[in-house]
């Protein structure tokens, strides 16, 4: 075995009295991809940021991190600056905010080049152009662009280009694909892999996604509560996990093709929701043509059916749910909920329709009023719609239904974990016994171990209470787990629709096929096969 490029020993990181990382030790060898995996609060990002001295002043770091001989934790600021962007390049989670909005990409890359090399602006620009070509972007155009003119995937490529300016021996990537669409994620992972192959760059990749781990890692370090619970090769980890925690983590991962996908016979009764030729256009102003967010969509949702709506960002998923709740008016087409035509409904009818619809939002942390007790939040729909009777009893009943302690109604959201907060969100959505539940990415903000139980809860409640459900997600594995039928949206149009097993198992349309191929599977062997199949598909 070659000497380690980076060696962490006894690393502990504290914020005040709170120890977020404890006695962490691992190595990264030249040309190797090591993933640091764990759930939120496991200390994985903090560990990664500490290597470049990017933690806030309130953090105290102990231990050592040796990078080709010198300790990153004790170097002076001049050496640290040489390491940053010189020996270590860094890629962040949010490409949309990682670049300065008021400078052109060209300016920012030129500055990054000139931070370490005494070259003229012209030479630096030439280097920037090479780098953008390396990350497979249209260099001439991107150099002149401002960040807001590029997509998330393009921006992440720019950030990677900036990290590669000085051909670092090590690239640290902190959740580099979490904020991106599946197909874009697949492209970024392919790029990282090829950079390793072409430039021999070692990669330390922080992620919570076992699919990403299976796709790219050579070795895996599993963190929990700031401690290393397992270090393993990627095949070793997936085939024979050593730690109990790793096993639990792997068990809770949803992968496409592993779900039950039990075909439920739904009765061919009149559907609860009928959407016909729906079109929504947004005016953008400045003389630009209006954006067609939804373009001739027809859908039905049966009275006790779960319709999965899947698509990438900008495909029109959320616009459709906004039309159903009356937040957006359709430009054309008709929408019927329980026999009421929403395009012609009067105020009284709208009120009735809204009473029949419950919504679960994506981010439970911001969807609950932080200054209201969870009991008050759950009772709010009852108050708004003037329900009589004992609200307290109904709240207790709902809390029990979402498997929370009914005695918790006096607690505040900050006292709850993410998964518990989302249960509160579900309880609130069900307060009025809705006939339709809209769940807009209800598990995207949750850790995997929590995600599975929230999905199970939703599915159980749906069976028990038999409401219709519009389940919106970008995650095919989640859709496969909960939905009866699925509609695939692409640029405002439904490209494919049908029973889940049929659509995701044997997609008929090209776009669906690409979407299915891009979703990484938490199994390195299967993922390699899928990757090769996906390459064949795109070529």
């Amino acid at each position: 075995m070659t000497d380690a490029l980076l060696a962490l020993r006894d690393v502990s990181i504290r914020f005040g009295d709170v120890e977020t990382v404890r006695d962490v030790a691992f190595d990264v060898h030249p040309g190797e991809v090591v993933t640091l995996v764990g759930e939120s609060g496991s200390g994985k990002s903090v560990t990664a940021l500490s290597l470049l001295g990017l933690l806030p002043d309130t953090a105290t770091v102990e231990g050592s991190a040796l990078l080709s001989g010198h300790d990153l934790y004790t170097v002076d600021s001049r050496t640290l600056r040489a390491v940053r962007g010189g020996e270590i390049g860094m890629v962040f989670q949010e490409p949309m905010s990682a670049l300065n909005p008021v400078f052109r990409i060209g300016t920012q890359l030129v500055d990054a080049v000139r931070a370490h090399r005494k070259v003229s602006r012209r030479e630096a620009r030439q280097r920037a152009r090479e780098l953008l070509e390396l990350v497979e972007l249209d260099a001439a155009r991107v150099l002149r662009s401002y960040p807001h003119e590029l997509s998330g995937g393009q921006l992440q490529r720019v950030v990677i280009a900036a990290a590669l300016v000085h051909e670092p021996a090590l690239l640290i990537a902190d959740e580099p694909t979490t904020a991106l669409d599946m197909t874009v994620q697949a492209g970024i992972l392919r790029l990282l892999r090829s950079l390793r192959d072409r430039l021999g760059t070692a990669i330390l990749l922080v992620t919570h996604d076992m699919g990403v781990v299976a796709d790219i890692a050579d070795r895996v370090v599993v963190l929990r509560d700031g401690r290393v619970v397992e270090q393993n090769t990627v095949t070793g980890l997936f085939q024979a996990p050593q730690a109990e925690y790793t096993r639990e983590l792997l068990d809770s991962v949803l992968s496409l093709g592993s779900g039950p996908a039990t075909v439920r016979e739904t009765e061919a009764a009149a559907p609860l929701v009928t959407v016909t030729d729906l079109a929504v256009t947004y005016r953008v102003g400045g003389g630009a043509p209006p954006v067609r967010a939804v373009d001739g969509v027809s859908l039905t949702i049966g009275a006790d059916e779960v319709l999965g709506l899947v698509g990438e960002s900008g495909s029109g998923k959320s616009t459709i749910s906004s039309v159903l709740t009356g937040l957006v008016s359709p430009s054309a087409g008709s929408v019927q909920v329980g026999g009421v035509d929403l395009t012609r409904a009067n105020r009284r009818q709208w009120r009735e329709v809204r009473r029949q619809i419950g919504i679960v939002f994506q981010n439970p942390a911001s969807a609950l009023n932080p200054r209201a007790t969870i009991g008050a939040s759950i009772a709010e729909p009852l108050v708004v719609h003037g329900e009589r009777g004992d609200h307290g009893a109904r709240v207790a009943e709902l809390l029990t239904a979402v498997r929370l302690d009914p005695g918790w109604s006096g607690r505040y959201p900050h006292e709850l974990s993410g998964g518990q907060r989302q249960r509160v969100g579900i309880a609130r959505a069900l307060a009025l016994r809705p006939r339709l539940l809209i769940a807009d990415e209800p598990t995207s903000a949750l850790d995997v171990s929590v995600q599975a139980s929230v999905l199970e809860l939703l599915a159980g409640l749906q069976r028990e209470l038999a409401f219709a459900c519009l389940f919106i997600s970008h995650d095919l594995a989640v859709i496969e787990r909960v939905a009866d039928r699925v509609a695939v949206l692409h640029r405002g149009k439904v490209v494919e629709e049908g029973p889940v097993a049929a659509v995701l198992g044997a997609p008929a349309q090209d776009y669906t096929r690409r979407l299915v191929a891009a979703a990484p599977v938490a199994d390195p062997v299967r993922q390699r096969e899928r990757r090769e199949a996906s390459r064949a598909l795109s070529s």
Partner: protein
């Protein structure tokens, strides 16, 4: 380029529309006042005949809406009051005529404007630079001595009334230390050194009062920007700290500051009444106060309109400047 021109064109048209509304409003308010401007020029004893003559001479006998259109027309064509040997000619662009001072309003404003512009622009430059510097320095040393000291001083600046600061300044630097002149104005063309020397104290007083807001604004903004992801990216790329702060962060700090600055400056160009009074500077503020005291309606109208013009102009400049500073705000 075409889009930019269109943007500027639309904004200019909007500006003119706003000025029309402002002028109409001002006109309505002043001319519907229960004072008769003709009384002031009617002489003593003021017989009803003399009053009627004076009214007719000044044009106050016509319906006020007619007077408004006469006023607007005069801006383009000029105006003649009375006839024959006693006629008073107010050449285009005529913004009214002060019968009490026997001078066209435009000439009166023209006399005073250089003083106000000198005072406002000089002070603005000082407070902008000092305010931003203090704010940025505070943000970078958050919670430490520099930060606390700067914020305490700015608190004093925000809360102290202008006349108090002005009088204390005169007392300390003018009389006790006797280093700068405390009043009067020397035109720039006459002696640039004396011009600046006479303005130093008023500049500093105005700057002290206004810089406080800028220091606080840029401190808060800088703290926010320093927490942004792109600052972390810049640091992770190994950029020197002076580039990270001085270029990447500062440009983002300037965005909201510029908006406030242009409007403050626009307002100040309409006349800094108190500061001008304290330092006996013959600026627009003084002219306005005099006009109010003497119920000189044409003059009051003219000065108000000019003040409004500067505010509207400042807003226009903000719109254009914002597009320059923030590419996201550009018309795409």
């Amino acid at each position: 380029m075409n889009r930019t021109l269109r943007f500027v064109g639309v904004r200019l048209a909007g500006m003119i529309a706003v000025l029309l509304v402002v002028s109409f409003g001002t006109f309505a308010v002043f001319y519907l006042l229960p004072t008769d401007p003709a009384l002031m020029s009617c002489g003593k004893p003021c017989t009803p005949e003399n009053l009627a003559v004076a009214r007719e001479f000044m044009g106050f006998d016509k319906p006020w809406i007619q007077q408004y259109f006469d006023f607007l027309g005069a801006i383009f064509t000029g105006r003649t009051f009375g006839t024959g040997a006693t006629a008073i000619v107010c050449p285009a662009p005529c913004f009214g005529y002060s019968f009490q001072q026997n001078e066209s309003v435009l000439a009166l404003i023209g006399d005073r404007l250089p003083v106000t512009v000198s005072l406002a622009v000089g002070a603005a430059v000082i407070w902008l630079v000092a305010g931003i510097a203090a704010g940025v320095a505070s943000a970078l040393r958050r919670g430490r001595f520099t930060d606390r000291a700067a914020m305490t001083v700015t608190l004093a600046g925000v809360s102290a009334p202008a006349y108090l600061v002005g009088l204390l300044g005169i007392l300390l630097f003018g009389f006790t230390l006797d280093v700068v002149p405390v009043s009067g104005y020397v035109p720039l063309a006459q002696s640039p050194v004396d011009w600046a020397w006479h303005l130093v104290l008023p500049w500093l007083v105005l700057a002290f009062i206004n810089a406080a807001v800028y220091a606080r604004l840029s401190r808060g903004q800088m703290l926010e920007v320093l927490g942004e992801d792109f600052i972390r990216t810049a640091r992770a790329a190994g950029l020197p700290e002076r580039t990270v702060i001085g270029k990447y962060a500062l440009r983002n700090v300037l965005l909201p500051v510029v908006t406030v600055f242009a409007i403050d400056l626009g307002t100040l160009l309409g006349g800094a009444v108190i500061t001008e009074r304290v330092f006996a500077l013959p600026g627009l503020g003084g002219l306005l106060v005099d006009a109010v005291h003497q119920v000189d309606l044409p003059l009051l109208m003219g000065v108000s309109l000019f003040a409004a013009f500067f505010v509207v102009l400042a807003n226009f400049v903000v719109d254009v400047l914002y597009g320059v500073l923030d590419p996201r705000a550009r018309v795409s």
